[in-house]
């Protein structure tokens, strides 16, 4: 567990909770990223602008962080092109079919004590864990 970063995890999580709280208090909307992004593909009325603004903010966040701290983010992505495309398709199709992802179900839904969101969160976390186990410890 040498990579465990409890304080930045709690702080970052708190910011995510604050973001979801602001969107709910001001706009009455759920901060579920898959829904906000997915409904850009199927626009209903004058619903586009706030969704685009949220997406722009998601991208602006890490840029602002890097400019403010001078700490250029280095991330590790260990996946080849076919994996990236298959994973992207599965994440897109799955979150759309299951009406949400880590933010919509995992944060906003569980905060409402929604049994539906709790079920989805347990299921996608288990599926993710089983997948990582298979990729890292069975196939490799």
């Amino acid at each position: 567990m040498e990579s465990f970063t409890p304080f930045s995890a709690l702080l970052g999580g708190g910011l995510i909770g604050l973001a979801a709280a602001i969107l709910l208090l001001l706009n009455g909307r759920v901060a579920g990223v898959s829904g906000i992004v997915g409904d850009l593909l199927r626009p209903a009325g004058n619903d586009l602008a706030w969704r685009i603004a949220f997406v722009a903010g998601l991208i602006a966040g890490p840029i602002a962080y890097q400019l403010a701290t001078g700490d250029w983010l280095s991330v590790t992505i260990d996946a080849n092109t076919p994996s990236l495309i298959v994973a992207g398709l599965l994440v897109g199709f799955g979150t759309s079919l299951g009406s949400g992802c880590t933010s919509g179900h995992g944060v906003c839904g569980i905060a409402r004590l929604s049994l539906r969101s709790m079920t989805a969160t347990v299921v996608f976390m288990l599926a993710g864990m089983i997948t990582v186990y298979a990729v890292r410890h069975v196939v490799a």
């Binding site: 709690l10 973001a19 909307r29 994973a87 398709l89 979150t95 996608f124 990582v132």
Partner: protein, 138 residues
């Protein structure tokens, strides 16, 4: 216009949260999902932090008749657990475990200028469009 600005502020805070917590790094997420390996419980604490704030906020906001800048709340009301939510969560979890990206960090990750994210996000959008417009649509 004010709702658009509020939405941008919320999105920015969300992206900052993903950055500060390092959930923008797929290796960090895979470290959490790798429970039998060198397990990194950080993501669990991200959830604790987010849920602590949001659970309290929801209790307070839910007392209001309407949000501050809009006419009404748009909050899911469904309670049923059907095959769609379970199979959708399974497919999502498998994709998440393959690369370590879910929708939030994938979109925020576009800021990193990595070709991997630039491949993943369009594939994710295609997946969403296929579900929304295909015979499986809700």
């Amino acid at each position: 216009m004010r709702t658009v600005l509020a939405s941008f502020v919320a999105g920015t805070l969300f992206g900052l949260g993903l950055t500060v917590s390092r959930m923008i790094d797929p290796a960090k997420v895979l470290g959490f999902l790798d429970v039998t390996g060198d397990w990194d419980p950080s993501l669990a604490l991200v959830m604790v932090g987010a849920l602590t704030v949001m659970t309290i906020a929801y209790r307070l906001v839910a007392r209001r008749a309407a949000p501050l800048l809009a006419d009404s709340f748009k909050i899911p009301t469904r309670q049923d657990i059907d095959g769609r939510i379970v199979s959708g969560a399974v497919l999502f979890g498998v994709g998440w475990g393959l690369v370590g990206l879910c929708p939030g960090p994938a979109i925020s990750g576009l800021a990193l200028g990595r070709y991997e994210v630039a491949l993943f996000v369009p594939a994710m959008l295609v997946g969403m469009a296929v579900q929304r417009y295909g015979p499986w649509r809700n």
